[in-house]
Amino acid sequence: MSDVLTDPRPETAAETATKVVDCDIHPSFRTPTEILDYLPSRWRDHARAFGIRPPNSMTGALAYPRMGGGMRQDAWPPTGGPPASDLEFMRAQHLDPLNIEVGILHCLNPGPSLMDLDFSAAYCAAMNDWQVDRWLSQEPRLRGTIVIPQEDTAAAVAEIEARATDPRFVQVAFVPRGIEPSGRRRYWPIYEAAAKHGLPVAMHTAPYGWRENTGAGNASFYLEEHYAVANPIQSAMTSLIFEGVFERLPNLKLVLVEGGFAWAAPLMWRMDREWARMRDEIPAVRRAPSDYVRRQVWLTTQPVEEPPRNADLKHLIRWLGADRIMFSSDYPHWDFDDPHRAFRIGLKPEEKSAILRDNARAVYGF
């Protein structure tokens, strides 16, 4: 038995030098009330008087006992404040040593799901201003994700239009647990606006949203919730396929974040079989479902699947296609993946560089 299963050192000099695109970094406020400084006074007063209330406010966003408070235990900045609230420490711990050429921010926040729609619009605008002020204007390697008040379609489109000319924003965030299934027509203008500007739509399985975390209701335990994160984004992807969104908008790109990827290949097999038998019900969906996935959908890696036989991960990746998968770390959360250690399974060098960097470069145009 060797000291370790996987040698921690990079395998080759080329690997050491491999630049990485990280599709999922979670920046934090320094203090819980930091967002108030970015709200106009009318909404700052509102937040103080009435609170910030998403529809799941009965349980809150953190109803489950997350491992270690949900954070990597080595990610607390020595200067104080929560993990990923200090840019200097993020550089030193994450961006520099892992050779990250671009890191894409995902702000997990209640803005898109606030019940007061005017407050939702104001909060989302504040989140976008905060991203620019605290991160995008400070660090050229970081890119932003446009946060939108998605349940007010007109306001959501207005927020996309307001940010689309800023090249530091590279995609639009959409919460997959919205009021209606993600492919329904109330959301089409959002997808049209994103596609028009060449901005991918990213669905991250955030703890927020209007609906429960599984289709059958809320899970009881954190272990269950951690697994259930795949559920809403599977539903979102199938909804966009069968509502005809991808057929209508062939330039729309959908990025599914933190919901796993192993399920995607068998789901495509199954959808294709049923579509071949029952497609007369939905003639507007002219292609096999897997065609849309292979043309318009990408999935991020973290938390990477870990089969009992590690080598089986290679089969999962090849069934789906190494061109569909983009590396994400989830920094600074406890279930973080390291780009140089999460795929030690004998992939071809071109497959590895596709996953770690090249697919994201192509999707986002870096």
């Binding site: 000291d3 491992m67 270690g68 235990q73 080595d74």
Partner: protein, 136 residues
Amino acid sequence: MGKHVICRLEELPPGSSRRVDIEGREIAVFNDEGRLAALGNRCPHEGAELCHGLIRQFFAAEGAGEYEGTGKRMLRCPWHGWEFDLSTGQSYVDPARVRVRAFDVDVAPGEGLSEGPYKIDVYQIATEEDYVVLTI
């Protein structure tokens, strides 16, 4: 190979840990409530630095609600929570396949340390102080 003086004992107070790099190895050294321990610094799972991990007692459970402390100390990886016996490096997650290497680490009085077989790169040894000595 040999014994290495890595720091003064007062620089590794109870509850603290540090990483040392010796002979091309990264080693995590812990002061667990006065007892010293040393393990390879990298978690075999995804390579997190174990020197940032938490040390806790290992509890054994016969069934729900029936548990007792074993007195064994375990180190929990700072990322995904893999647990290792602090004294042997044995994994609690997958004992048959996974371990980190454990190293001998002791306290030695300064008196006599400046003689062999110790390797002292950095420290001026004062005879009135205690030092942490790692064997690899």
